[in-house]
């Protein structure tokens, strides 16, 4: 009896992870970390020094009146300011439901102001617009699913980014990656010989484990071209290794390009530098066409999928991508469904699944992702909300790419996600599966900040580790 009482008392004393997150948020608040007004960013601070009133007015009106048309007009004139979009946004939910972070609140602070003032903004107001559009919205499009009128707020905030890009007022880190795209056709300034060297190095490494493995470079007429984001050769080469091992095991006929076009990532899309985006996407499609492959298979990245499947093609005048393409979620799903990849032994835990906005709201791949995760683990335990209604990781839409100055704001502005994860942790789930690099980046920071002690896995991580490997020694 006394032992039971003692146990109950100690169980009460032990804080749940949800309580830990809330306590951390309290201390963040007390330390003033939720005040973001003084964040410095050289790209913004130096950028606005070069502005003149005429330039601001000309550029804003050029975009709002010249480039935008019926959609912007319909959205602005239809919005009845009902605030129903608010609950959709993790920035709003995480910042104590401060209305300035609600989707419509962000539109009010940017496009409405631009329209009301007919483009006559001060440089400080332009800076504020850039901050809002680049660091307070992930363009995750969840609010579209919560607005009765389906008003595309992401489109409007992307338009603000475009205006800021044309004015030369974009956060420095993401602008830097856009420059890299423009100069090298990849996000990380990886040079052509470095790229091929990296592939050969990974092939060499993999031969210890898979003696006959190849990473076929520039093989014409293969079934598919595999494209990755530039951070893979730069920082996460093991992911290329893993993908090669999976394709090898499944007996795929595949290739990677030798020349620029191998990188499918696209920060220019997110800064609003659509001219650079168009060049980058054109090179990517052309690489696949030159190799005469049947399709493009993309690595586990969300934003790149959006860029290749949904955005870049339109800028270039293609209704759909000029060459068929699939995300690796779909590709893995097919490999497992067709029995080309088999599970040797399941990952010995139940996991939860974080849906990347760009693969669920961008392609409806939530069930395929779960199919793969279920096949290689003891099962998926659902977060809530989930699937196409999942809360964003707060890294996507280029927000994590705005770099260190904005990290604290980014992490604190996703307390909502931390609470969601903490509830899973309290249920005994220690592992999150998420098929997107950006989601990993964002979730890792949140896990670390709030002390959640959870592990993150790509689908490829699970498949690589737990598949049947006939060729392996």
């Amino acid at each position: 009896m006394s032992e039971n009482t003692e146990m109950a008392a100690s169980a009460e004393a032990a804080a749940t992870f949800l309580q830990k997150v809330q306590a951390k948020a309290e201390s963040d608040r007390a330390a003033g970390r939720y005040e973001y007004d003084k964040i410095e960013d050289i790209g913004l601070d130096e950028g606005i020094k070069k502005l003149t009133p005429e330039r601001i007015e000309t550029v804003i009106n050029q975009v709002l009146q010249g480039e935008c048309g019926a959609r912007l007009r319909a959205y602005v004139e239809t919005c009845v300011h009902c605030g129903l979009c608010s609950e959709a946004c993790h920035h709003y939910l995480s910042n104590d439901k401060n209305p300035k972070y609600s989707p419509v609140g962000k539109v009010k602070r940017t496009i409405w102001m631009m329209l009301q003032k007919k483009g006559r903004l001060t440089p400080a107001e332009v800076r504020e617009c850039s901050v809002i559009a680049s660091t307070e919205c992930n363009l995750c499009r969840r609010c579209l699913q919560y607005c009765p009128f389906g008003i595309d707020i992401a489109y409007m905030l992307q338009t603000v980014r475009r205006i800021c890009s044309k004015l030369g007022v974009t956060p420095q880190y993401i602008q830097d990656t856009t420059h890299s795209h423009a100069a090298t056709m990849n996000q990380m300034w990886v040079k052509e010989d470095e790229w091929v060297d990296t592939l050969q190095w990974q092939e060499d490494e993999a031969r210890d484990e898979f003696p006959t493995i190849r990473i076929p470079v520039a093989k014409e007429g293969a079934d598919f071209m595999y494209s990755v984001i530039a951070p893979e050769p730069k920082f996460r080469t093991h992911l290329i290794y893993q993908a090669a091992a999976i394709f090898h095991t499944a007996g795929c006929d595949w290739t990677m390009p030798e020349e620029p076009g191998w990188d499918n990532s696209d920060m220019a899309m997110f800064t609003g530098d659509f001219e650079t985006m168009g060049r980058v996407k054109k090179v990517h499609y052309e690489a696949a066409q030159r190799l005469r492959v049947k399709k493009i298979v993309m690595g586990e990245c969300g934003h790149a999928f959006r860029s290749v499947y949904d955005v870049g093609n339109r800028w270039l005048g293609w209704k759909m991508p000029p060459i068929p393409m699939v995300h690796s979620i779909e590709f893995f799903y097919e490999l497992i469904r067709d029995g080309k990849i088999k599970c040797r032994e399941k990952f010995p835990e139940k996991v939860t699944f974080h849906d990347p906005c760009n693969t669920v709201r961008g392609r409806g791949l939530h069930e395929m992702g779960r199919y793969v995760a279920n096949a290689f683990t003891l099962g998926v335990v659902e977060m809530s909300p989930n699937r196409e209604h999942n809360l964003c990781c707060n890294a996507g839409g280029g927000v994590i790419n705005c770099g260190p100055p904005w990290k604290t704001k980014r992490v604190l502005s996703n307390k909502a996600k931390a609470e969601q994860l903490a509830r899973m942790k309290d249920m005994g789930i220690d592992t999150i599966v998420s098929p997107c690099h950006n989601c990993h980046g964002g979730l890792e920071d949140i896990i670390h900040h709030y002390g959640l002690e959870m592990k993150l896995k790509f689908l490829g991580d699970l498949i690589f580790e737990f598949m049947v490997r006939p060729d392996s020694e």
Partner: protein, 220 residues
């Protein structure tokens, strides 16, 4: 007073309907022609099956995730809009006027009591929406005087209609104000945010087309 009444319930009705219908057609036509000129992709991606499916969900009470998350707002929104549409069209007094007036048409009416209750519901809806604008920070933040203006424009014909029906105030004055208020609302529809009545199909429809046909995912 009688001559003013005769004017607002005679020629001015025609003017109001011409402005309402003509204005709506013009607003829609100009929106579509602008889309054709600058947003051709709207037509390229438009998918009627997804439009119907999505709008069907959004026009069904609790048919979308957000409607389920906001039960009070959902119920008020639905009964408000139903009343807003039914009362003017199916009230005995209006149909009698139309039948006796130039049109000579008529159709079934709502029982007076039902119409009366519906009118009160619409007024109650206006009051609720106004309360939200004061009380909920996320609504207050994006509220401007024009939002109250629109609510007033919507509330006025129902308030005066109720007054006329319940014989509150001078009958001729109240009836004249009622007709004027109704005309004002009609005229405002194409030229204010009340145009969401017209544009809703296009904004939700385009999002539905993109979500459904391109991205293969639900938008409700």
């Amino acid at each position: 007073m009688q001559s003013l009444y005769n004017f607002v319930s005679g020629p001015l009705v025609w003017v109001a309907f011409i402005v309402f219908i003509g204005g709506s057609v013009w607003r829609l036509a100009s929106l579509l022609s602008l889309a054709k000129k600058k947003d051709t992709y709207v037509f390229e991606y438009w998918s009627w099956s997804h439009v119907f499916s999505s709008i069907g969900h959004w026009l069904t009470p609790f048919g979308s995730t957000n409607w389920r998350m906001q039960p009070v707002m959902s119920v008020v929104t639905f009964v408000f809009h139903i009343g807003l549409i039914l009362v003017p069209i199916f009230t005995m007094g209006h149909i009698v006027l139309l039948e006796e007036g130039a049109l000579g048409w008529s159709w079934p009416t709502l029982p007076d009591q039902v119409a009366d209750i519906a009118a009160f519901i619409v007024l109650g809806g206006c009051a609720y929406f106004a309360w939200r604008r004061f009380a909920l920070p996320q609504v207050k933040f994006v509220t401007s005087p024009s939002d109250f203006g629109i609510l007033a424009v919507v509330a006025a014909p129902f308030l005066t209609g109720i007054m006329a029906y319940h014989h509150i105030g001078d009958p001729l004055l109240v009836t004249t104000l009622h007709v004027l208020a109704g005309e004002l609302m009609l005229v405002c529809i194409p030229f204010t945010r009340l145009a969401h009545m017209l544009y809703f199909v296009f904004t939700r429809g385009y999002t539905a087309s993109e979500f459904g046909a391109v991205r293969h995912v639900k938008d409700w």
